[in-house]
Amino acid sequence: MRAKGWLAIALTVAVVVGLSVGVADAKHAIKIGGQCDRTGATKLIGVEICPGVTDYIKLVNKKGGVLGHTLEYTEVEHEYRVDRGVEAYERLKRDGVVATLDYGTPIVYALTPRHMEDRIPAITPGFGRADSLDGEVWPYIFPMAASYWSQVGGAMQYIKDKGAKKGAKIAYLYFDNPAGREGIPIIERIAKKEGYLLRHFAVPSPGLEMGPQVIDITRRLKADWVVAHLFGRSPSVSIKEFQKAGFPLDHVISLVWGAGEADAEAAGWDQSQGYLGLQFAAVGRDLPVIKEIIQMSKDEGKEAPKYVGGVYYNRGVLIGAILVEGVRQGLQFGEPLTGEKVKKGYESIKNFTLGGFLPPMTVTPQDHEGGGWVRLYQVKGKEWVPVTDWIRGYRDEVIKLVNEANKVAKVVKPLQ
């Protein structure tokens, strides 16, 4: 009885203290927000990408903010789950955010109607729904830089450049969720066009075991190329499985979310030599923005963490930069800033490169992707090195597919 009493008192005190301090917070700043996965299936990515976003915003605020306004970025943990992602969005909405990052393709799908209704734009760089390229059908969703369809196009372009002919056997190994399945329509289309033999191999969440699939790819199908759309835990497992089965890693191309240092490290750098991956943002510390961030850490007396300059961290910085750019462009439409103004701001982004992060990105009200450029990197030594320049593969196929996909959406839309 005593224990229970003290426990109750302690809990009540903690809750009261926390709530009273936590609630007191009212600054006149521009609020933006996003979810983050630090404990769920993609936490390998989340723990590097989210600091990238917050560090960049911190840098911008240090340099005086956006046209004098400080930016306040709120990150809400959602464990890569749709229900928690939706709850996070509602919380951000109540806080008054004008722009969000929706982390995770399933979450993007779930939140799309809400973004349309609430008129708050969401960016989904390098993931999300590829059909939202068409800004007229999906005004508030921005699959910036390179959607999954553009990535698959790039991978297939590389395969063709490396000499794949009609009858070549391609295996599409994917994470069995909306994000993974996003790549299916485009890869089927391209394979049909080129006369490749294509087979799909699904890896169920969270992608821990794929032995039979890899055995099938290596021994039964005897595939020439593998396009892998895995993320989180699964890329490292796939690397090990391919090695165990004896499949050459330099014929495995991973889409952007399986191409990070963390993945190669988890599989072991020695085991991952030759593994190919797509990037949509530059890698490394040799970029002006990254150097500034490292300097900022030094000014605070801290060493920049190991992952600064890495694949996922840099993407986080890019995300932060796109958010900031949207806010900056949106402010020219007047204050106070609203979601609609940020949307128009995004659509005014022209020739955006963030000092060498990506080829110039131009977003228009019709084209919400702004480019679709990817670059192939390969694991050599203990890092990822580029093997091609920025390419854009099968662009016309991608656009055609977007139009076809949206024909259905245009009919369904009135119901929303």
Binding site: K4, A14, R38, T54, E75, E77, E90, R94, Q416
Partner: protein
């Protein structure tokens, strides 16, 4: 002093059999109802969202408590039955244009059928073996919905549902959705309270307590076990369908194994074998992550940390505290919040005497 039974007498059978015969109970429930109805006037959108989440969770928790708390059949597949209801409602509404007041009971009915089917093993096995078979149900149903395109809506396994409307009045704000969730919750709650007082409810409790003895006195345990599964899955299906209409999307990730475990945690912390306990548990588990983030952030802010530096720590702390609270509750108060509530009521009832 006010909470007493003497001096209260009934003159009709109906009065005697009423759900809340004491005047104090009647008044307090009426007041509660009034507060709940008036809440939208005073609260902001986020609070309404939280109330909605609690309401949705409570419906599911009540269902699970009927199966696990009253009938003693541990079920780890509750999330899967919610999934069934959710997708049924989504298919009916998106493909066949049914309104939500058809989708809800339909979702419940289909889930009840599926639940009864997965309850069939209960004829031969009991206890933990049954729990493990419900675990299998969880995975099998998840797999079916994911891999049968007709159910799962094709390659993307999410189905959009148009905004639910009632006579042309759309439920498109948190305030309006509150009035979609609240009536269902009230119906569910009153229905469950009456169910457990009825003959069927007594059969459930008999099965939980000593099923062989129950069979001897003439309770058909197979029929009642299946009924328990069916009723519990009906609640789950309605809850799942309501989730679909609330989120306007049906997605299997809402209802994975950790969801089933959350519901189990809700009823255990709330109190096995009590409907009110399920609601307490739902409130507790739904609020836990939200409160936790505020509290830890607040305390950290006192010491000068920003969110970014403790984000990792916070995310994992939530898991630890969640698990730790479950263990703590089971060690200190195994009968849950409902028992604590009962203790409080009893204290005031006997005040100023201590026993």
């Amino acid at each position: 002093m006010i909470n007493r039974e003497c001096g209260v007498y009934q003159t009709t059978y109906q009065g005697d059999m009423a759900l809340y015969p004491l005047p104090l109970a009647k008044i307090s429930y009426a007041l509660l109802l009034l507060v709940l109805l008036a809440l939208p006037l005073a609260a902001d959108s986020h609070t309404m969202a939280i109330m909605n989440l609690i309401g949705l969770a409570a419906i599911g928790a009540i269902g699970l408590n009927i199966l696990t708390g009253y009938t003693g059949q541990v079920s780890l597949g509750h999330g899967a039955f919610m999934m069934v209801g959710s997708y049924t409602a989504a298919i009916l509404s998106s493909r066949y244009g049914m309104p939500f007041w058809v989708g809800l009971p339909a979702g419940g009915a289909v889930a009840a059928a599926v639940g009864a089917f997965f309850g069939i093993p209960s004829l031969r096995i009991k206890g933990l073996y049954l729990a493990i078979s419900t675990l299998a149900a969880q995975f099998i149903i998840e797999w079916c919905i994911n891999h049968i395109p007709w159910i799962g809506g094709g390659a993307q396994s999410s189905i959009y549902v148009p905004t639910p409307t009632l006579f042309g009045w759309p439920f498109n704000t948190e305030y309006r959705r509150y009035f979609m969730v609240l009536p269902v919750l009230i119906l569910a709650y009153v229905g469950a309270q009456n169910l457990v007082r009825s003959r069927v409810g007594r059969a459930f409790i008999a099965i939980r307590d000593r099923d062989v003895a129950a069979e001897i006195i003439g309770v058909d345990i197979f029929k009642y076990k299946l009924l328990a599964f069916a009723v519990s899955s009906f609640y789950a299906g309605v809850a799942g369908a309501l989730w679909t209409y609330y989120l306007k999307i049906a997605n299997y990730e809402h209802f994975i194994l950790s969801t089933s475990i959350s519901y189990l945690a809700m009823i255990i912390i709330g109190g096995l074998g009590s409907v009110l306990g399920s609601v307490f548990g739902a409130v507790f588990i739904t609020l836990l992550p939200i409160v936790l983030v505020y509290v830890v952030e607040g305390i950290a802010r006192l010491f000068g940390f920003t969110y970014a530096s403790i984000a990792d720590f916070l995310a994992n702390l939530r898991l630890i505290i969640y698990g730790g609270l479950i263990i703590l509750f089971l060690a200190i108060e195994p009968e849950g919040l409902y028992r604590m509530w009962g203790n409080i009521k009893r204290y005031f009832r006997f005040w100023p005497f201590s026993y």
